[in-house]
Structures are given as C-alpha cells and as structure tokens.
C-alpha cells in the first residue's frame, strides 16, 4: 500500500548493520515497527548524496533527520509506540533528550576526536566507503563538526582546555549509562516486552560503543560493566538484525567486504591445511625434512594472501 521506501545510510562492520548512531536508530525502528525499507549503504558511487545519512526517500519525498524519519514512518502507520501510555510517551521524549545531551558528546568524542581512534579506525573506515576525492575531505569535515558541537555546547568558560571538557563529558556519559541501566533493570525492553522508539534510540547510541573495536575504549569498558545494557544490545542484534547482517542488500555489498570474506576463507583454509599437516607429522615423526617443506609452503601461502589483498 505504501510507496516503496529507500533508506540510504552508512554501512556496518563488527557485527553491526551500521556504524552511524542515527542510521542504526532508524534501521532499528523500522525493524521494530515492521516497515519495509530497502537499505542502501553509502558506497563508492558518484551519486550526489541527498543530505547527511540517514536519508529516507519515498517517491518524491526526501527526509533527512532521524526524528523526522520516525514521524514519517508513524504517519505511514508503522508505529512501534502503539501500546504506550501517554506518560510513557512523555518519558520517551525525556530519555531521548538525556541521551542527546549526556551520551552523544562522549560518543562523538570517541569516534571523531580521540586521536588514536580517529586515525586508526574511524577515518580509514569512512574513507573506504566514499568515492575518491570526497574521501579525503568528508571524514575531516565530520570530525571538525563533531569538535565544534562539543566545544559549543559543553566547552563553557570554567572548562578552559579540551582535556577538562573531555573529562566532563566522559563523566556525564558514564552517569548516563548508569541511569539507563537502572531504568532498564531486568526488563527486556524499556517499556515491557515490545521494543519502542526509546529502545531504537538507546540501541542506536549504545551499539557502536559496545561493538566497535577502538584502541581507546574507556566508554566501552564502562558499558561492559553494565550487563543488562550489553544483553539489551545483543538481544536486538540477534532477534531483529541477524537476518540481514550476513545478507545485506546486494547493491550495498562492498567490494572491500567481499575481499575480506574471501581472505578470511583463504586463511581458514590455510589454517585447516596446516592443522592437517601437523596431524600427519605427529603420526610420522621420522620425516623431519618434510617439516621444513611444509613450513615453506605455509610461508608461501601466507605471503600470497596479503598480495591478493593489495590487488583491488
């Protein structure tokens, strides 16, 4: 009945359907409410982006912010908050405000401003998803926007240096995580047994912290000490996303991802071969020269795989 809806957003890694918190929120909400979205990950094509991802395109309507996208989905009768009372709806708004004020700055900092994280993980990952000249400019721009936002909203006069601001925002973020954990308690979702908008937002913010492997991980370590929040993320991933993580839309399958899969298979095959050879060796210890040849083979095999990785 509804016109086909396409969502374009950043792709995923480390077991997540997307790395960008807002994209994750929209995808989670779509899954919760049963909205049929085709997800297109931003890739190397030269198509001009219609706005910052996540962007929803339905016929001629282009909507770009998560709150507006969720409103649009609700108007199309895909409403995950149907069973909520008015007070719970009010609580949803309040907790989303809490997330944006307290947790988002630290999330942005971990991704875009912490030097080690940014240089070794975030920038290469995002750069690999965009076409060439833009990939030199866009990650830098996103980083500058994040820094700007943090300094303008949190960097008031008593906090004169970036390190003080950082200390403050991480304190706030840890407090926010503690509050969320207390609110969730032992329930499966925030409002009973079915997930709602609030669950989508919390998932969108928590999952990147939880799953992405950064060198500097103080927020992730704090999150891992709150087992009910970790369980919450894992539950949503297994119940609502497992079907699509391995089989994401073919149009969005990155060549780099395909290469990575092939490489993993190759390495697995190699290690299986090596294990088999080891077993053979153990059964026949009187052939030491063969050991050397197998090592050479293994070395040769491993050298060939980085070669195949470099080739585009």
């Amino acid at each position: 009945m509804a016109a086909p809806m396409e969502l374009s957003c950043w792709g995923g890694d480390w077991g997540l359907p997307s790395l960008h918190p807002e994209c994750l929120t929209v995808m989670a909400y779509a899954k919760f409410s049963g909205a049929p979205l085709t997800v297109n990950t931003v890739n190397n094509s030269w198509r001009a982006p219609k706005g910052d991802p996540p962007v929803l395109v339905s016929e001629d309507i282009v909507i770009s912010q998560p709150a507006k996208i969720l409103n649009f989905l609700r108007k199309q009768k895909y409403n995950a908050d149907y069973d909520l009372s008015a007070k719970q709806g009010a609580d949803t708004l309040a907790y989303i405000a809490l997330l944006e004020e307290k947790l988002l700055p630290a999330l942005l900092h971990t991704f875009w401003i912490e030097a080690e994280n940014y240089c070794s993980v975030t920038k290469p990952w995002f750069a690999s998803k965009i076409a060439f000249p833009l990939s030199l400019y866009l990650p830098g721009k996103m980083s500058r926007e994040a820094l700007n936002r943090i300094l303008l909203t949190k960097g008031g006069p008593p906090l004169y240096s970036l390190t003080e601001v950082e200390a403050q925002i991480y304190r706030d973020a840890k407090e926010c995580l503690n509050l969320l954990s207390k609110r969730l308690g032992t329930a499966q979702f925030f409002f009973g047994d079915t997930p709602t908008t609030l669950d989508a937002f919390v998932f969108g913010f928590l999952a990147p912290i939880y799953k992405v492997c950064f060198p500097r991980v103080q927020l992730q370590e704090h999150l891992k000490q709150l087992p009910n929040l970790c369980r919450f993320c894992d539950d949503i991933l297994t119940c609502y996303f497992r079907l699509t993580v391995s089989s994401c839309s073919p149009a969005g399958q990155d060549t780099a991802d395909a290469n990575l899969q092939k490489l993993t298979q190759l390495v697995n095959k190699e290690s299986n071969l090596i294990e088999k050879m080891d077993d053979n060796l153990r059964k026949s210890p009187q052939h030491p020269p063969r050991k050397l040849t197998t090592l050479k083979l293994a070395a040769g095999g491993e050298e060939s795989s980085p070669m195949s990785r470099l080739s585009p």
Partner: protein
C-alpha cells in the same frame, strides 16, 4: 551535618526591567524557586554586568559566603553539599527520570527560547537588541548584541536548530509541554507530594513564558493549552513567592510592567 546558610547570600542577575531576556529570566526564576523550596533565604541583586561577573558566563549565579556558583545544575549540587536536598526521597529510577526530564526542558524549552530571542529576526530587532545593550552607550550596545547573536547562532547551527523555522520550533515547544503535562497529570508536583528541582526548573521556564510579552503570543498560547501546567505555575507562585513582593512579582504586576516596553 548541615552547614549554616549565611544571611547575606545573594543571587545576581541582569536588570529586571530593562535588560534581562526571556531565557535568562527563566533560568534565574528557576534558581529562585529552588532556593525558596529548600527554605534558604536569598536576596536578588540586579547588575548590568551580571553575565560578565558569572564564573561560567551564564546567569544567574549565587554568592554564598566566599563561593560563587552559577547555573541551576551546579547550584543544586552546591546546596546538596551544604546538606539541603529536595530529591533525597526519590529512588534510583525516579532520580533517573528526574534528570531525563530536566534535560528535556533544557534541550527543548531553553533552546526554543534562545532561538526565539536570537534567531527570529523580528524579535531580535524589536526586543532583544534594544534590551540586551540598554545599559551601554552607542556603539557598544550594538557591538555586544551582535557578538552575542553570532555566538548563539553558531551554537544553533552546531546542534542542528539553525535550519528550523519558527513553526517547527513552536511545534517542539508544544511537544515538550505535552510531555510535561502528561507526566504531571493531576498531581500537585512532578513527584507527587514534594517539589524537587525539576518542579523549580519547569516553573521557571513556564512562568516566564506565560508572563513575558513578546511580539506575538504564540509561545505563551502553546503553554496555555495545558491547563494543568498553568495551574501548576499558579500554585507554586502562591506557595513560594507571595510573601516576597519586593523581589519577585505576581502575574498581574509582571505583565503590566512588560507592556510598558515594546
């Protein structure tokens, strides 16, 4: 043990009649309400340079003993360290809710007030610029207001509010008031019998919106739609502010003073 609260504790804000703006007035009233609820006496002192005296650049700030603390959040913590607290009786989940609702008010109401004051051209020309620079001679008054306007607009752009139209901002205010109204329901205060800092914050913002005369009445109309919120404001005003006519003002007095200005 509770430390004694000095007699000469003072709260500083900008000049009430000519200079103070909607958002600063709301913040100041919230702090005054909070201190009244804690039963801590405080004098309100109006100074033209209050913003510059404040340690964080924001008003209001309180001067207690030899310490200066600004903004509601730090003031609540400071008062708690002195042994007075309104939210001790709440359990953990309720405290989480209270913090979340306070962030909602700051996120939506305060930002909407700032937007209206500094990003809506008509309001800026007719109300904000004349008021903000009123204690200073020309050209300083224009320079200071333009500087502040540039700062606020930069912040709006960073959080994504620069692209919003006035209607969208009013929609957000309506949504926020709806949420607050739902949460309050028929109770006297947000956490039933006892007022907390959330009540003080909500009162500060809603009362100021209801009693400040702007170019149009759209903002106060949005709040008036919710009768339990207006009743809430009236109740707190009667309970905590009636006895002190010198420092605070009732609804009638406020609007008559404001109507003398454009």
């Amino acid at each position: 043990a509770a430390e004694p609260w000095p007699e000469n504790a003072a709260l500083y804000q900008q000049l009430k009649e000519e200079q103070i703006l909607l958002s600063d007035n709301a913040s100041s009233l919230a702090v005054q309400a909070f201190l009244q609820m804690c039963n801590l006496p405080i004098r309100v002192i109006c100074r033209a340079n209050a913003e510059y005296m404040s340690p964080s650049g924001k008003v209001p700030f309180i001067h207690v003993g030899n310490q200066v603390v600004s903004e509601l959040g730090p003031i609540v913590q400071f008062v708690k360290a002195k042994g007075h607290s309104l939210s001790d009786g709440l359990d953990e989940v309720q405290k989480a809710e209270m913090k979340a609702y306070m962030e909602l008010v700051n996120n939506m109401l305060l930002t909407a007030e700032l937007y209206l004051q500094w990003c809506d051209d008509v309001t800026v020309e007719e109300i904000t610029h004349p008021r903000y620079g009123s204690p200073y001679p020309w050209p300083l008054n224009r320079i200071l207001s333009y500087q502040k306007q540039w700062e606020v607009r930069r912040k709006m752009k960073a959080i994504g509010w620069a692209g919003k139209t006035l209607e969208q901002v009013l929609e957000d205010v309506d949504q926020c008031c709806h949420a607050l109204s739902q949460r309050l329901g028929t109770q006297p205060y947000f956490f039933n019998k006892q007022p907390t800092e959330l009540d003080a914050l909500v009162f500060g913002h809603l009362f100021t919106i209801l009693t400040t005369q702007l170019i149009t009445d759209e903002l106060s109309e949005k709040v008036k739609n919710y009768s339990n919120l207006t009743a809430f404001c009236r109740r707190i005003e009667q309970q905590y502010f009636e006895g002190h006519e010198k420092d605070s003002s009732t609804i009638a007095a406020r609007s008559s003073k404001k109507s003398l200005l454009r």
